[in-house]
């Protein structure tokens, strides 16, 4: 594994060194070590913008960021064969890495499910919640072709503490489906520390996923 030791370096050096290492060997997993939060956040943003899937391990004042190569957004076609998933919150402790080439080798060819609220459909809110749970259960039972589930607005309640659908998401995640919750939405509902399953994402990445999806199922 290639390693970038950026401890003791000020912004923007950690980003510059990481970018250089990432671009030099795009197929390899990279370990970046930094010792402050600014460097951590900037390296996360940078590697995500290059299509990598970073995960953070914290020990004391140090952050060890493992960047897996992932699909390169707007990058070379050759990257399509590399694994695409990395479950686990980018801010939480890292979980084991699942790759499920059986389902989809690239996000770009898959189906993305977009959940715009915690309830499915309009009319009765109560009914909507029942339907959502039922939908997620059904999805879990037959996730073929689904690469990503994106939760937006009140949809982020589904991936947070107190949701009655957590087990469905966990099961989907085990099947290699990427679960993403909109960071702005988590912030808005003050749920940032309550996320139980999947990763935090941003609008830029979400838009990219929607644009590249072969099909989007939106509720």
């Amino acid at each position: 594994m290639r390693e970038v030791d950026a401890r003791g370096l000020d912004c923007p050096q950690p980003v510059i060194l990481t970018r250089k290492a990432f671009l030099e060997a795009p197929g390899e997993t990279l370990l970046v070590i930094v010792d402050n939060q600014v460097a951590r956040d900037n390296v996360l943003k940078m590697t995500q913008s290059l299509g990598g899937s970073p995960e953070v391990e914290q020990s004391g004042d140090e952050f060890r960021i493992y960047v897996r190569p992932g699909e390169v957004i707007g990058g070379s076609e050759g990257a399509a064969t590399t694994p695409v998933r990395s479950p686990g919150s980018i801010y939480g402790s890292s979980t084991s890495f699942h790759s499920s080439p059986a389902i989809m080798s690239t996000v770009g060819n898959g189906t993305v499910v977009l959940l715009k609220s915690a309830a499915l459909g309009q009319g009765s809110e109560e009914l909507g919640r029942v339907l959502m749970k039922s939908f997620l259960y059904t999805l879990r039972e037959s996730p073929e072709g689904i690469t990503t589930v994106i939760c937006l607005n009140s949809g982020v309640y589904l991936t947070c503490e107190g949701s009655d659908s957590l087990e469905h998401f966990e099961s989907l995640e085990k099947e290699g489906v990427e679960i993403l919750s909109c960071g702005t939405c988590l912030d808005f509902f003050n749920l940032k520390n309550s996320l139980k399953v999947g990763k935090v994402s941003n609008m830029y990445s979400i838009l990219e996923l929607l644009q590249r999806a072969s099909k989007v199922i939106a509720f």
Partner: protein, 329 residues
Amino acid sequence: MGPGALESILNQLPRFDHPEVLVGLGTPDDAGVYQLNPELALIQTVDFFTPVVDDPYIFGQIAATNSLSDIYAMGGKPLTALNIVCFPVSCLDIQVLADILKGGAEVVRRAGAVLLGGHTVEDSEPKYGLAVTGIVHPERVITNRGARIGDVLVLTKPLGTGVIVTALKGGVIKDSEAQPAIDSMVRLNRVAAECMQELGVRAATDITGFGFLGHAYEMALGSEVAFEFGIEGIPWLPVARDMARMGLIPAGAYTNQQYLADKVAFTGRVGEDERDLLFDPQTSGGLLIAVSENRVEELLHRLQAQGEFAWVVGRVIKLEKMPIVICGR
């Protein structure tokens, strides 16, 4: 220094409650204002920092433009300036210092002010800026406190100098790509200040180290109102959003974001890069002006007629929960 830390230090200083002090330490504002007589008040400010670009002459211009900006933000006219300089005399070619000072002097001249002198200290890293004295009519001081509900918020420079300077330092962009940012940083806020006075504007601030939202917050707080901005109306410098996505974000942006975490509400879709840029510390940024609705067209017209830029970015609303509201898409 970040806004939170600064506030906690300034709170420890004794207060100077003289009747002549129109704007002092008690309120966070761009510069201090001291009334000399019923017709005349002094505006004083000092600002200096480390190089943001390699070219010493351009750095001198940027630093001086930034220092003068505080006078303009108070609606004033700069009269005199003093150089304030730190320089590693023994390690760097002295011509570098000469070029920095030439750049600064050129800007002072353009501002219609005079350079009276200065002070130099030997230091490991160059730093440069100005202490500036300006004047304003005591009843026409433009402060952070005068924004009224219904006013329209106008910004005179696009955002993103912090990430662009970071990208430039990191060698990620070429000088030519940073040129729009440099042009923006050496543009005086003079015309904007003159237009504000002509139209009787009561509230404005200049956007510098606390970032767009940091300074907007100070103004909303001082005026006891809330500011609502539409994300689609906010102007960005070219390549700024790309650089933000790449994580070329200066530490100050995170400090600003942290300080403002419970003061800013986001509604709708706002890109992470856009958020980061809203907190990005600006060097020699534009003025954020609160102008009454019936004068906004005239303000935009006058600025544009003189080759200046201006964008309507938001409006002043009643303070309910959050002093700053960003409306997404």
